[in-house]
C-alpha cells in the first residue's frame, strides 16, 4: 500500500521517501486509535522499505507535533476499574506502543522527525526514535510525566539516555520543564533548527540528500551508531506499571482531566 489516510494519521510513498503525517486533533494525543493506525503503518513498513530510503514523521496540525499519550482516554478506561485490571490494560498498551517504537527505531530507512510546537511526553518519545530531528523554532520539548506520578512509558528514558548526557536527562526528567528548539540543538537532541513552518521542507531536502548514498551502507551505519536499548526498554515498562498502581497517579490523572486551570500543560 503506497498511501493510506486514517482517522489519526496518513502516509504516502513518493520518490523513495515515506511521509508519515499525524492529524488527530487537538494535538495528536496517542490513544488506542492512533496506536492501531501506527501498528498498521509499521505492519506495512517492510513493504515500503523496499522502495524507500527515508522516512519523514511530521504533524499536519498547527498546535505542534504531538502532545503525548491521550490522558483523557487513559483516565476514562481506568476509572472505576480494579487496579490490577487497569494495570494489565496499561501494560498491554505499552507493549504494543513499544513494538511500534522499536520497529521505527530499527527501520533500515533513515528516519527524520520534522517537529514544531508541542513535542511533549509520548510525542517526544516518538521524536526520539528518529535518526535526525529537524525542529522549527516554535518547537517546545518536555517530559511532564512526573507530575502525574509516572515516568515516560513509550521508551523515552532509555532513548534519551542513548542520545544525551545523563545530567541533561535528569534535569529534563526530574524538573519536568520544557525547553525550546535552540536548547534542543545545544544539548544535541535536534540536529537542525529552522524557521517557523520550514521543518517539513528542510526534512524533504535532507531526505533527498541521504538518498544519494548506498542504502545498505546507510542502514549498516545506522545499526552500528544507534543500538536499541532493549533491556532498559523492558525495565521501563515494568517501572511504569509499578508506579501506575500508586494513588498519586489517579490523583494526577484526575487533576489533569478535570482541570479548569488555564495551565494544565505547564509542568
Amino acid at each position: 500500500m503506497k498511501q493510506f489516510h486514517g482517522q489519526t494519521l496518513s502516509w504516502t510513498l513518493a520518490d523513495g521517501v515515506v511521509e508519515l503525517a499525524l492529524h488527530r486533533k487537538p494535538c495528536n494525543e496517542i490513544g488506542s486509535q492512533t496506536l492501531e493506525e501506527l501498528e498498521q503503518f509499521t505492519g506495512t513498513l517492510p513493504e515500503l522499505e523496499q522502495y524507500a530510503h527515508a522516512l519523514i514523521v511530521h504533524s499536519e496540525l498547527g498546535c505542534g507535533f504531538c502532545a503525548g499519550a491521550d490522558l483523557r482516554e487513559l483516565y476514562r478506561r481506568s476509572e472505576g476499574m480494579p487496579k490490577d485490571q487497569a494495570t494489565t490494560g496499561v501494560k498491554d498498551f505499552l507493549e504494543r506502543i513499544h513494538l511500534v517504537m522499536n520497529t521505527l527505531d530499527a527501520s533500515p530507512l533513515t528516519t527524520i522527525g520534522a517537529v514544531h510546537g508541542i513535542v511533549f511526553g509520548g510525542g517526544l518519545e516518538l521524536a526520539l526514535v528518529c535518526d535526525l530531528l529537524i525542529a522549527d523554532k516554535t518547537a517546545r520539548f518536555c517530559f511532564p510525566e512526573l507530575r502525574l506520578g509516572l515516568i515516560p512509558g513509550f521508551g523515552g528514558i532509555p532513548r534519551l539516555k542513548r542520545d544525551l548526557g545523563n545530567a541533561v536527562v535528569r534535569d529534563l526528567l526530574l524538573t519536568g520543564r520544557s525547553f525550546n528548539a535552540a536548547k534542543a540543538q545545544q544539548i544535541g537532541l535536534a540536529s537542525q533548527v529552522v524557521a517557523e513552518g520550514e521543518a517539513l521542507r528542510i526534512a524533504r531536502l535532507t531526505a533527498a540528500q541521504v538518498g544519494k548514498f548506498d542504502r545498505n551502507t546507510s542502514a549498516a551505519a545506522k545499526k552500528f551508531l544507534k543500538p536499541i536499548p532493549y533491556d532498559e526498554l523492558r525495565r521501563e515498562i515494568e517501572i511504569f506499571c509499578e508506579l501506575f498502581t500508586q494513588p498519586a497517579v489517579d490523583a494526577g490523572l484526575r487533576k489533569f482531566v478535570e482541570s479548569t486551570d488555564a495551565q494544565p500543560y505547564l509542568p
Binding site: 517546545r140 518536555c142 520543564r177 525550546n180 486551570d261 488555564a262
Partner: protein, 80 residues
Amino acid sequence: MPTEQQTLDEVLKLAATQFKIPRESLTPDDDFFKKLGIDSLQALSLLTRLEQHFNIELPDYEMQGVSDFRTLAERIQSRL
C-alpha cells in the same frame, strides 16, 4: 541591560504581535490568558517567543501561577 519598564513594554509588544491584537488594548496587569484568549499550549508558544527575543531560558515552572504581564516581565528581567 534594559530597565524593567523596557522589558515590560517589549513583552506587551510581542504578545500583541503574536496574538494579533492592538498593543494599546493591553495593560501590564491584564490576565494574559483572558485578555489574549489563549490556553496553556498557546502560553507556551508565547514563552518560546519571549525566550528567543530576550535570548534567555525561562523554565516554565517559573510561569506556574503567573497570569499577568507585569509578573511575567519581572521573571524575564531576573534572567537578563
